[in-house]
């Protein structure tokens, strides 16, 4: 389906034929200035052809000479080295992102305690670490935390009684 503008150009240039031409001319009956516009368009074409004559290329042989020199210079240039592929291509970046995400999930599930049982286990684990650093296997140190009382108790076991003269009073 041609627009009015398209059909108008085709009409001016004599490109409409048959039914298309008849239909368009019926459409133009409502535009009394259509013929004047067609005439003006032909006048414009005549004006351009008369006054915008085809210029000729001056020094045409030099034009070829210069062009051939440019081509020769262009051919003489070494072919550009193939670009080094950038390591971080899009698929690699996507893979790395996915890996980081998985790693952070794993660290979250492993390192962050979530249930009370896990928290207690963690406390026990901390206490055992304290035990592990004792030289004497008979000595143990255990830490307890009472959440309700908000108190931490350090329980030392297996130590000798402190002599009377060293007791802090």
């Amino acid at each position: 389906m041609k627009t009015f503008e398209e059909k108008f150009s085709a009409w001016i240039d004599g490109q409409l034929t048959g039914d298309e031409l008849a239909d368009f001319e019926r459409e133009l009956a409502t535009r009394p200035d259509a013929d004047a516009e067609k005439f003006a368009a032909h006048q414009l074409g005549d004006l351009l052809r008369e006054h915008v004559a085809t210029p000729r290329l001056a020094n045409a042989d030099f034009f070829n000479h210069q062009l051939m020199q440019r081509i020769a210079a262009d051919e003489a240039q070494p072919a550009p080295a193939p670009r080094r592929a950038f390591f971080w291509t899009l698929p690699r970046m996507a893979l790395a992102g996915a890996f980081c995400l998985l790693l952070s999930f794993a660290m979250y599930f492993v390192a962050v305690p979530k249930t009370q049982r896990q928290i207690e286990a963690r406390q026990e684990y901390v206490a055992k670490i304290l035990n592990a650093h004792s030289d004497d296997p008979a000595i143990s140190a255990t830490a307890f935390h009472d959440k309700q009382q908000n108190v931490t108790v350090l329980w030392l076991d297996g130590l000798d009684y402190i002599p009377d003269h060293q007791q802090v009073r």
Binding site: K2, T3, E5, E6, K7, F8, S9, A10, I12, D13, Q15, A40, A41, Q43, L44, G45, L47, L48, R49, E50, H51, V52, A53, T54, P55, R56, L57, A58, A60, F63, N64, Q66, L67, M68, R70, I71, A72, D74
Partner: protein, 202 residues
């Protein structure tokens, strides 16, 4: 210069020259340049209205064609293909100049660039006052052409100056026939309004 009315021998000659170009024969390309340089230069000159710019753009267009010749498959005539490359180079240049605000008509350039006998080339010897009138009309036409967008400029020059068919223009610019007709409509309207007083005084 309708493209499709080129003699068959021309198309055959072009195909042979193109085949040699594709084997790296610069002499064959030189022959193609010689054959089409005037048409290409004229088309560009009418678009940019400056000899030096037209020369440079024609050089760039031919150089680009040489670099791309391996991709020419012969689906269209060589000249249509070349025309399209050169037209793209020229339209890009005009668009860039307009963006830089340099596309306004330079009256001194327009008048200086016009040789009454050579460039406007009216038939036979003109009387001095007629020569002056021709120069003035050419300057007004240049001024009007400069006010068109590069796309409208290309279409109206190809149609009115080169007598190209709609399909040939569409092939050369890389758009549909409908777009060509539509651009032609608006380009003519604008040129008519800009040159109205020129018609009236003819």
């Amino acid at each position: 210069m309708p493209l499709e009315s080129e003699p068959v021998t021309t198309a055959v000659e072009d195909a042979e020259l193109v085949a040699r170009c594709q084997r790296g024969d610069t002499q064959a390309f030189n022959e193609l340049v010689t054959k089409y340089r005037n048409k290409i230069y004229a088309m560009i000159y009418n678009m940019v209205r400056n000899e030096q710019d037209a020369w440079d753009l024609a050089q760039d267009g031919f150089l680009k064609a040489w670099k791309s010749i391996q991709r020419f498959r012969g689906d269209s005539a060589f000249y249509t293909w070349l025309y399209r490359i050169v037209m793209n180079v020229t339209i890009d240049w005009v668009r860039k100049k307009r963006a830089e605000g340099e596309a306004e008509f330079d009256e001194t350039l327009g008048l200086k660039g016009v040789e009454p006998g050579a460039v406007t080339a009216p038939k036979g010897e003109l009387l001095p006052h007629k020569k002056l009138e021709a120069i003035e009309i050419r300057a007004r036409i240049d001024e009007a052409i400069a006010k068109l967008t590069p796309e409208h400029r290309a279409v109206i020059l190809m149609r009115e100056m080169d007598g190209m068919e709609y399909q040939e223009i569409a092939d050369a610019i890389g758009c549909s026939i409908g777009t060509v007709m539509s651009r032609l409509f608006y380009a003519r309207k604008k040129m008519q309004s800009l040159l109205k007083d020129v018609y009236e005084n003819l």
